[in-house]
């Protein structure tokens, strides 16, 4: 649905987006991540035909953003960063305005406006002018205007920015619900959000793609991936630690004294090449008759992966 082809944007000597290419298929929710100023918003502005790329292009639903910009804008729902809207209008007037510019009239127009007000739970605010609304409501108005024509492609620039935790959950659920028949790109700097919502993540830094894969694939880059953590009531004896160290494929064993007397002892066992060692560790502890209160495999830390990719660490 979305094919980005060597897209670049330069502002004078500053390269905001540097030759990026990726594709998004129907049913995918692509999380677009990166530090501030990495080029996320610039890329989204180019895809939505708001700014013209310096070089390269993109096709949305088979239409070229440079030569068929009008057709692209018709099949695209776009939520710009911080959800701008005409503040002196009421929610209803604003949504009617958007519906009319999208070519709807009569009964169809009112049906669409009503449906979208319900979907984004804006009913209580429909007659309020937008400048009197809270940030969360304004964000939902922005969301509503992007969805009014039920577009097959959605581009959302920080859709949950400014929402409270409950509203964030609602918006994420809404995005997941719509994902089946749409291709969605959303930018965010909240890593948990990406893990919770996206089927795929693209991380960009200084305008370049530094990672592209499912959240699980990205997590496997974490130093902690597949490390086994064991919680124990008593500290391990030196012999047990030694026998753990001798296991095949074990790189290191670290023990941590409890931070408070009532907390358990923690042991972390690091695999050589991030392979799965949980079974081996369990067996070894069993043969040594160690009582375990908790044992699990670490799935890795997204913020560590993100830091390493974007700081070059």
């Amino acid at each position: 649905m979305i094919e980005v082809d060597r897209l670049s944007k330069k502002y004078g000597s500053l390269v905001a987006v540097d030759n990026i290419s990726f594709q998004v298929n129907k049913g995918e929710i692509l999380g677009f991540l990166g530090p501030n100023g990495a080029g996320k918003s610039t890329t989204m502005k180019m895809l939505s035909c708001f700014i013209t790329p310096t070089s390269g292009t993109a096709r949305i639903g088979g239409k070229d953003i440079l030569t068929e910009s009008m057709a692209v804008r018709e099949i695209l729902g776009y939520l710009p960063e911080s959800a701008p809207s005409y503040k002196s209008m009421t929610v209803l007037e604003f949504l009617v305005f958007i519906a009319e510019t999208r070519g709807f009239s009569g009964q169809e127009k009112s049906n669409r406006v009503e449906r979208i007000i319900e979907l984004t739970t804006l009913n209580s605010a429909r007659f309020q002018t937008i400048d009197t609304l809270s940030k969360g409501f304004r964000q939902r108005v922005g969301f509503a205007q992007a969805l009014i024509h039920d577009p097959p492609v959605l581009i959302l620039d920080e859709p949950t920015d400014g929402l409270d935790p409950n509203q964030k959950q609602e918006v994420r659920a809404l995005i997941r619900k719509m994902a089946e028949e749409k291709a969605i790109i959303l930018s965010t700097h909240i890593l948990e959000e990406m893990e919770a919502v996206c089927t795929r993540a693209v991380i960009i830094n200084h305008g370049r793609i530094v990672a592209d894969g499912s959240p699980q694939t990205l997590l496997s880059h974490s130093k902690m991936f597949n490390t086994v953590t064991v919680k124990l009531t008593d500290n391990l004896e030196a012999t047990t630690i030694e026998s753990l160290r001798k296991l095949d494929g074990i790189n290191d064993v670290k023990t941590f004294a409890p931070p408070r007397p009532e907390d358990p002892f923690t042991v972390q066992i690091f695999p050589n090449r991030k392979q799965d060692i949980l079974g081996q560790v369990k067996d070894c502890l069993k043969t040594n008759n160690i009582e375990i209160s908790e044992i699990y495999r670490e799935k890795g830390f997204m913020d560590e992966v993100f830091r390493n990719l974007t700081l070059g660490g």
Binding site: Y11, K45, S48, C49, F50, I51, T52, M70, R73, E74, L76, Y78, P80, S82, P84, S85, Y86, K87, S88, M89, E93, F97, I98, E100, T101, R102, G103, S105, Q145
Partner: protein
């Protein structure tokens, strides 16, 4: 076409939702009437004509029209709604024309509301109503030309004050070119044919000619080409900014 009407409707709504519209209309009334009676000596002239009323329009518009048009693009850019507007399926020319027409319609409404002066002059004497209608048409066309220039300056910046000052300066030049005093000064330095050519680019020259009651196609073409040219430049500036 439906898109243009939708956009015009929204733009007009935004005028009337804010105090700007009412302040503008009141000031427009006060200043047109004020200049007619106090500066124009309407009663002392003892003539059943609205010459004194229209005489000051080029000078009043110099400040009033930029005030109406300064926000048209600058505000969109400042509040970020320009990003919304240009990602909707609306062409650049549609957007540019709609904004201009909305402002022009608004000025037209203000101009129409000066109708009591027509009643007054008809009550007091027997004016040539043809001349009055022609003058209103000329005034409206001239207002459109001021507005087209303001649209251009408004698209250059996100700051309404800068937009206002720029358009006042440009419009002032356009009025000045045809002002008698200025033409006399030019005559001292330049050959007459050149200074006359320059003065044909002035708003006041063409407005004065229509106000005499003669609707000459040259005057119509002049104002309409200023409007058309202004809107094309406006669209070009916005396109360039997209690619910048």
């Amino acid at each position: 076409m439906t898109q243009i009407t939708t956009l015009i409707k929204r733009e007009l709504m935004s005028y009337f939702y804010s105090p700007v519209a009412y302040v503008f209309i009141i000031i427009f009334m006060l200043s047109t009437v004020g200049t007619t009676f106090f500066l124009g000596n309407f009663f002392n002239a003892n003539q059943a004509s609205l010459e004194a009323f229209f005489l000051f329009h080029p000078w009043l518009y110099l400040f009033l029209i930029p005030a109406i048009g300064m926000g048209l693009w600058a505000e969109e850019r400042n509040t970020g709604t320009i990003e919304l507007l240009f990602t909707l399926p609306i062409s650049m020319m549609q957007a540019v024309i709609s904004k201009f027409l909305a402002g022009w319609i608004f000025i037209g409404i203000a101009l129409l509301l000066t109708f009591p002066i027509i009643i007054t002059v008809n009550y007091l004497g027997e004016p040539d109503n043809g001349v009055i209608i022609a003058s209103y048409l000329g005034s409206f066309l001239m207002a459109g030309s001021y507005l087209a220039i303001t649209c251009v300056t408004s698209s250059l910046t996100r700051n309404q004050v800068i937009s206002f000052i720029l358009s006042v300066i440009v419009c002032f030049c356009m009025v000045l070119l045809g002002w008698g005093v200025f033409t006399n000064i030019m005559n001292k330095f330049l050959p007459t044919w050149l200074s006359e050519t320059i003065s044909t680019f002035s708003f006041s020259t063409h407005f004065n000619s229509i106000s005499r009651g003669i609707i000459d196609s040259r005057d119509l073409v002049f104002f309409l080409s200023i409007i058309g040219g202004g809107l094309i430049i406006n669209a070009l500036i916005l396109e360039t900014k997209k690619a910048a």
